[in-house]
Subunit: 420 residues, 2 copies
Amino acid sequence: MINIGDALMAFQSIDTSRHDNTLAVIRTLREQGPVARVDLGALNGISSATVTSISAELLQQGLIAEQPPETPRPSGRGRPKTLIQLAPEAACVVCIKLSINEIQVVVGDFAGQVRHSEHHIVSTLTLTADDLAALLEEKISAVCAQQLEGFQRLAGICLAVQGVVSSQSGSIVWSPALGLRNVPISDRLAARFHCDVLLENDANCIANVLAGQPAYADCPNLVVIMLGYGIGMSVLINGVPYLGANGSAAEFGHSKYQPDGALCACGRRGCIEAYASDYALYRAAAEHLKLPTGDSAHPSEQQMQALTNLAIQGEPEAQRIYAEAGRALGYGIANVLALFNPDVVLITGSGVRGFNAMQAAMHSAIDDALVVELMGTTRIESYAWDRDMTCMGGIAIALHATDAQTLLDSQTKIGSATCL
Amino acid sequence: MINIGDALMAFQSIDTSRHDNTLAVIRTLREQGPVARVDLGALNGISSATVTSISAELLQQGLIAEQPPETPRPSGRGRPKTLIQLAPEAACVVCIKLSINEIQVVVGDFAGQVRHSEHHIVSTLTLTADDLAALLEEKISAVCAQQLEGFQRLAGICLAVQGVVSSQSGSIVWSPALGLRNVPISDRLAARFHCDVLLENDANCIANVLAGQPAYADCPNLVVIMLGYGIGMSVLINGVPYLGANGSAAEFGHSKYQPDGALCACGRRGCIEAYASDYALYRAAAEHLKLPTGDSAHPSEQQMQALTNLAIQGEPEAQRIYAEAGRALGYGIANVLALFNPDVVLITGSGVRGFNAMQAAMHSAIDDALVVELMGTTRIESYAWDRDMTCMGGIAIALHATDAQTLLDSQTKIGSATCL
DNA sequence: TTATTTATTTTAGCACCTAAAGTAAATCAA
DNA sequence: TTGATTTACTTTAGGTGCTAAAATAAATAA
């Protein structure tokens, strides 16, 4: 009698140290580029013997490669370091940003580099749930067909959405880009593309990128406020986004400035967004100022730029409007400081174009609202807006989330390209 | 030649699994009371073989004991369970609550039971930093002399303070109980009593107790608002208190209701505390109503009870004052919901005496401020006030924090009683 | 050409955990 | 009463994963 099953006897299942160390190595390589085994050990607090063992496995799985020895290396005495790097084509991820009337599709490789980026103008506000799913499937398929040559597999998709999302149920709870509520989307994309699908708030993606900047390396508690058509926020607590009970935490735009104040898009009154968002600024200005024609409920970049220019050039009414916005923003930030006491508050988004016109009023509102003890040591800074940041954050988040899966998959099927 | 040092060769230092499992066993025993080895394994996801090994060590160190077999046990077929319990006298902790003109001292044993509790009336507002330290040392010494017979050691002291504390620097940054700022205290007590000294915000202690209640077992994101002389808050994120960058997070009392509103004790205007705290309610009432004489800036429980009774009995001005307080509280809670989206908001503290008079206005303010999507599924509830809860939470926190230390100590010196 | 230096790999051994086998202590059933 | 059964605890055997130290590799310096 022969026991065939004996070979795959599974002993203890809860020791995660090898798994953890392997992920740490992959992530170090992604953040730092090529690194030698000794340094991987030092950076992650493990012995180089262990790094040797881990890197041998990864090498065999095709997830990393040694840098060819002829590559110029910093010389010195002793045996030269053999640098290890991620194999960029071991996997790829796709990030789709969904915003009002625009979608952006970006492809990133396993090493975290952006390989492809494209923008599409689409009337998102009139889409049905099926339209949306079909649209996303089409764009992802197209990108896969064109760009995925040579990648081992599509590891994950990140959908970065303005508004409230529920990663748990995989649906968009509410977004200013859509005329719908509670749109399930993750499961359908996951079934179509056989990979993990992450649903993320756009501000969380941005926060992820900013938290990685060296300037904010020692800021585990980071608040990012996104000014734009609406106002979004992301709160990183010890470096991880805080989502709350239903994923609708950090709704800074709908925290209150004035009870019974200006009307907000949410239907209530006195929200910060009703004073400092693009639509609020344009609405306030349209009453008194001569401005470019266009959809004043959804002002374009040109329209907003024109308004901002008026304020910067000293037009009194425009200045008053921006000052009031700054004051609302300041009071809102004061509440954020009192409640979260973060290391840094960063203000970004397309709305930073008007930040200079708001800044003075914002700071004086904060000073009026808070004693210095509660201001603490928090820095409040603006950050130049770059519309590609969202997807870069999404790529990073997707890679981080799918690393464990990639590792598992390469153990079973090595070298089998199964895209689409 | 004999190698003496060889015996203490230290192999890997980062494998924490035994340590983690041991702490998990201790904490399970503290939470659940006597438990059998099999069940300890099942509850913590480890094999009963491992529990046997861990409990043998703990038994040998005197930290646990087997329940004598004659104890009545739930019978059934099979070998009966041998229940294990913590040895209560293996260590003790002291919690001191510092509030305005009162200190409370409580002693808890290793199993988490309160062994002794005492209150003292002291004029805290006029103490110098040295007075405070001397006072605390005196009270702790007295309690140790009387109560610590039979305990192996004093494992830790928890100082529960109203106000902002910095555990990192071990100093009280600001407290309404003191006329001082930045009072260093932890180091002095630690040196005097040779044990860990924790500095905690009183609301965090309460939150710790409430989070342990079965009713809130599935509420990892819990907000506790403490109404009283001032207004405090604690936010538990995934069960752990959120402290912020400087320990001054969760300052709900100084988040804003009305820009340029009522004057707050902090010196700014429009804080929630300036409407809904004891001093604010009494201040507003003293202008129009005939109330008991006394220090109206620090109203006593009798004074506040008299005012609350007026509102409950239908006195219109008192009702108006409580309604305005409820409205301020409601708008403040709306911001908390928008920013934290917790599972539950619990309102407690001595100020809940007036909760019924505020409740209606509070709920209508929340409804005015937030669309249902942002209300989410958050429950908002009051919790009957018990002034002993703070110290019970402090005892639990201190034990949890000192378990690792207790474990280490019992390995070196078994049975040596070194109190004081 | 040899010594030195530094990187990587191999070896030996510890700590920990688990599954399975062995032992203990009760109830159930005749 | 006695054996079968059941459940709890302990012991044994074996596996994973890590580290320190030794061995090996590959360069520079003299």
